[in-house]
């Protein structure tokens, strides 16, 4: 017993020291200003009103001097306000909730696999093992075309899936925000693996009869991190076009991408990717500052494509039998870790409080000058953010990030539960996770959210949002009917 107590009291002491240090450094300016103001006020009170008036009279203000000074002040103020980047608001967003008839329980997936892959029991066995350890639940959904034995991936079926998911999410968004399609000035749709002509953005414009001068963009091939890329693009466009609404749609169309071969490195996406879509309404209008849910603070994009290994780690190609699939290399997690490190190196100075940055600086200098053996200091990002949305790419990704960023179970709960309920919905998963946090009633005004997404390339993109108003638990949305049963315990291996 006694051995534990000193350790405990040591760690408690350390905790308080750390807290004191953080408070001191983060509020340095305030702490400096208070004594100065105190001294000044004391001085003023001591001097008395007559003396103050005397001092003012002795300054001999000239009319021209006054005019020039005020003109100067107005000029500086104008330049400041003009050059400040516009605030980008996320007015609201909507996630697609799959219909009940798209549900695929594990047992159905496995039975279909066995029937489709009769000649390759080893592939089926492998898929079963992936599914058992995947962290997915029994309610994830696949599009109707993939329910057939064998799947029926025609272009028409892919378009139907796109229409189902995108129009559902958009209808929901229009209803929530009261915006009409004709009000949309910028439209960005991102879908990595399905890129028909005319594009999906053209499909949206056609369905909703948008204006002829709408600025539409269609991003394809950019992987699971394309959602953040679309937000970044919307932000840049909203800097240039005043008083506009930008609609961003992030989705992944599963129908054309069911892998029908046997390469192990290509079987993973079949087991993990599921239907999903999210539609976001961004704006730079002042009028939206009241009702907007979030403000966009930062977007940091990191691309490791210059490195050959990173470039090839998620690669779409044909297998020896001619089946097209996306192959994932074994060093995926290592590359993801490195991409994350790059990203947070840029992100750190933008978001971390001064205390963390100083510590990091000191440790860095210390390692360089004094002793290279010092452990590198991992800044505590939990001080910069209240909520984390880690792309639900798979259990391994979430585990890895939880370890690297030293996050608690509650921080990654949104990611894990989204993976369980919806599977890997690619670029829209970040929004399902946000929705989870809101549905749990945890999103308060002033909370900062960090969305991290990884994607082929290899890219690590992150977005930082600040909650604009405390969000009441929504009565609609993808989690409305099941949020009460979450969080669930997800066993390491599910027995099928």
């Amino acid at each position: 017993m006694p051995e534990i107590l000193p350790e405990f009291s040591n760690s408690v002491k350390l905790k308080y020291v750390k807290l004191g240090y953080q408070y001191l450094v983060n509020h340095f300016l305030t702490l400096l200003l208070i004594p100065i103001i105190a001294a000044l006020s004391l001085e003023i009170l001591r001097s008395g009103p007559d003396e103050i008036i005397n001092i003012l009279k002795s300054l001999h203000f000239d009319l021209i001097q006054v005019l020039c000074s005020s003109f100067f002040i107005v000029f500086i103020a104008t330049v400041y306000f003009m050059s400040k980047p516009r605030t980008i608001y996320l007015v609201d967003y909507a996630c697609f909730k799959p219909p009940i008839n798209c549900r695929v329980p594990f047992s159905t997936f496995m039975e279909h696999s066995r029937l489709i892959n009769k000649s390759n029991p080893k592939s089926v066995e492998f898929q079963m093992r992936i599914l058992e350890r995947s962290g997915l639940g029994e309610q994830t959904c696949l599009p109707p075309a993939i329910h057939y034995i064998p799947p029926n991936p025609t272009m028409e079926a892919a378009r139907e899936e796109a229409q189902l998911v995108i129009f559902s999410a958009m209808d929901s968004l229009f209803k929530k925000t009261g915006i009409k399609p004709k009000d949309i000035d910028i439209l960005i749709v991102n879908c990595s693996l399905f890129s028909p002509t005319p594009s999906l953005s053209a499909m949206v414009i056609n369905k909703y009869k948008m204006r002829s001068n709408v600025r539409s963009f269609n991003l394809s091939g950019m992987g699971c991190s394309a959602g953040v890329i679309s937000i970044d693009l919307a932000r840049d466009l909203l800097q240039v076009h005043p008083n506009s609404y930008a609609l961003v749609v992030s989705t992944e169309i599963i129908t054309p991408n069911y892998y029908t071969g046997n390469q192990r490195s290509m079987l993973l996406p079949n087991c993990l990717f599921r239907m999903g879509c999210a539609a976001m309404l961004l704006s730079n209008r002042r009028g939206e500052s009241r009702r907007a849910k979030y403000r966009l603070l930062h977007v940091v994009r990191t691309h490791k494509g210059a490195d050959d290994k990173a470039y090839r780690c998620v690669f779409e190609e044909e297998d020896p039998q001619g089946n097209v699939g996306i192959s994932l290399q074994k060093d995926l997690m290592v590359i993801a870790g490195e991409a994350l490190k790059s990203n947070i190196t840029t992100m750190g100075p933008l978001v971390l409080p001064a205390s963390e940055q100083l510590l990091f600086l000191f440790t860095l200098i210390g390692r360089k000058i004094f002793n290279p053996k010092w452990k590198p200091y991992i800044p505590d990002f939990k001080q910069a953010f209240e909520h984390f949305c880690i792309h639900a790419g798979g259990r391994a990704v979430i585990d890895e990030l939880q370890k690297n960023l030293e996050l608690s179970g509650e921080h990654v709960e949104a990611s894990r539960m989204t993976l369980h309920r919806f599977g890997n919905t690619s670029s829209s998963s970040l929004w399902y996770e946000m929705s989870y946090i809101e549905a749990k009633g945890r999103m308060k005004k002033g909370d900062r959210v960090w969305q991290i997404a990884f994607g082929s390339g290899f890219k690590c993109n992150s977005a930082v949002w600040k909650c604009n108003r405390t969000i009441k638990t929504p009565t609609d949305g993808p989690w409305a009917d099941c949020i009460d049963s979450y969080p669930v315990f997800i066993p390491e291996i599910v027995k099928l």
């Binding site: 008839n101 329980p105 047992s107 159905t108």
Partner: protein, 438 residues
């Protein structure tokens, strides 16, 4: 057994699965009763025919949506069989689902029904003939085939493993889908908390007793649950109008209206005698009767609840009067349900039995609510059911006929006979002689 030329009638076959919309709690199982296990080698194959007016505008999307809602109630029919440590089969309710088959037919509904009059084997094209096994863990218990005819009409083919329940349960099951299609939602939330979890039954080896007469213990079939027939079985079906039925009853019971033999036993007596006529010395002396038990098990949604009784005749069937035979059927039937359950439990449910066809079996489905599956308020114009996996002594099924037969107040019957080929031909000619059908 599809003959040449029949393969091209059905095309565009697409397989998929439908299952319950709600997640069944893990570890929920369904334990078949002894009666269920006695019936496990039998399969019901029913086909419901609808005119195009009933199914106009009914898309496959709407069908699947309603099915997912409907199957919430029948989660046990969507599981898969496993064997417990003792080898006794049970159903793991893992939401694997019901197999769905979509198909198109080159003929119109009327053309098809006309063709069916001569070739009953066409029935097999509209309903799946899959059985449980050889891998029971991956075999669906229920398969539904939807076939669209050239004219827009549709047939619904229900393939049902008898181990889940009898025809009355199957009928209730599929009729509920009609209810959900119509927009009703009579789904009580399944109470998973009270669902039986795995329970090991202890085996009490009873002293070697005699098996009941109505069942036959067959050689072990392992995990491929179908009885291997020694003869090729053929099916033959004919309608009996209400008027004909009354005439037949009079023929059997005499003109005295006070103690009329019920219609079912009258039909059985006539057919029994016809069967005996041409059997050349090996008359069927023992017959099995299967009837609905109106006092159903209230807490079970699906069950094998038929009363199975056996009738043993001492005298010669050929020489007997119809009235005598009918009296035998009505009065001397010995119920064997308990005896069957004992026989099954003797080795813990591991043996394999057949009930239908172990003797000449007469099945009374007159009260079955086959015509209760309404689509858009319309009843099917015809419902046909057969049983697969029956024994070589054959089966006679008495089904209700379509209601819109034009005659008010009386009800039509459909009699389906499944027998080995040669005996069926003989029976057909004999029945024709008796003017049972035109």
């Amino acid at each position: 057994m599809v003959s040449v030329g029949e393969e091209n009638l059905i095309y565009g076959i697409k397989l998929s699965s439908v299952g319950p919309a709600r997640v069944t709690s893990p570890d929920v199982v369904h334990e078949p009763t002894s009666m269920d296990l006695a019936m496990k080698l039998h399969y019901l194959r029913g086909v419901y025919y609808y005119r195009s007016q009933a199914v106009q505008g009914l898309t496959i999307k709407k069908i699947k949506e309603t099915m997912f809602t409907w199957l919430n109630r029948y989660y046990m029919a969507n599981g898969r069989f496993r064997r417990s440590e003792s080898g006794r089969p049970f159903v793991k309710c893992n939401d694997c689902g019901t197999r769905m088959i979509e198909a198109q037919c080159v003929k119109t509904l009327d053309q098809w029904l006309e063709m069916m009059e001569d070739r009953h084997s066409l029935h097999k094209l509209l309903v799946s003939d899959q059985v449980l096994g050889p891998e029971i863990a991956f075999s669906p218990l229920v398969l539904i085939q939807l076939t669209w005819f050239k004219c827009g009409g549709m047939s619904v083919g229900l393939s049902w493993a008898h181990v889940l329940g009898d025809a009355f349960s199957a009928s209730d099951y599929i009729n509920m889908w009609g209810q959900v299609l119509a927009g009703h939602d009579p789904n009580p939330v399944p109470d998973f908390a009270n669902s039986p979890k795995q329970v090991e039954k202890s085996i009490n080896p009873a002293p070697a007793a005699i098996d009941p007469l109505s069942v036959k213990r067959v050689d072990p079939v392992g995990d491929h649950w179908i009885y291997p027939n020694n003869y090729r079985l053929e099916t033959f079906s004919f309608h009996i109008t209400g008027k004909q039925l009354t005439q037949l009853q009079s023929k059997v019971s005499g003109q005295n209206h006070t103690d009329q033999v019920p219609s079912f036993e009258s039909l059985c007596a006539i057919i029994w005698k016809c069967m005996a006529q041409n059997s050349e010395g090996s008359e069927p002396k023992t017959v099995t009767l299967c009837k609905n038990n109106p006092h159903g098990l209230k807490d079970k949604i699906l069950s094998n609840n038929q009363t199975i009784s056996v009738v043993k005749a001492e005298m010669s069937i050929v020489g007997a009067k119809l009235k005598e035979l009918a009296a035998l059927l009505v009065d001397q039937a010995i119920t064997e349900n308990n005896h069957i359950e004992e026989a099954v439990e003797r080795d813990g449910g591991l043996s394999d039995f057949i009930v239908y066809g172990s003797n000449l079996t007469f099945v009374n489905w007159e009260e079955a609510t086959f015509y209760g599956l309404e689509i858009k308020g319309q009843e099917p114009i015809l419902v046909n059911y057969t049983i697969d996996g029956i024994g070589d002594n054959g089966v006679v099924l008495v089904l209700p006929g379509p209601k819109n037969s034009g005659e008010t107040g009386s009800e039509e019957r459909i009699v389906t006979v499944i027998l080995p080929e040669n005996r069926l031909l003989q029976l057909k000619s004999e029945l024709k002689r008796e003017c049972m059908f035109a």
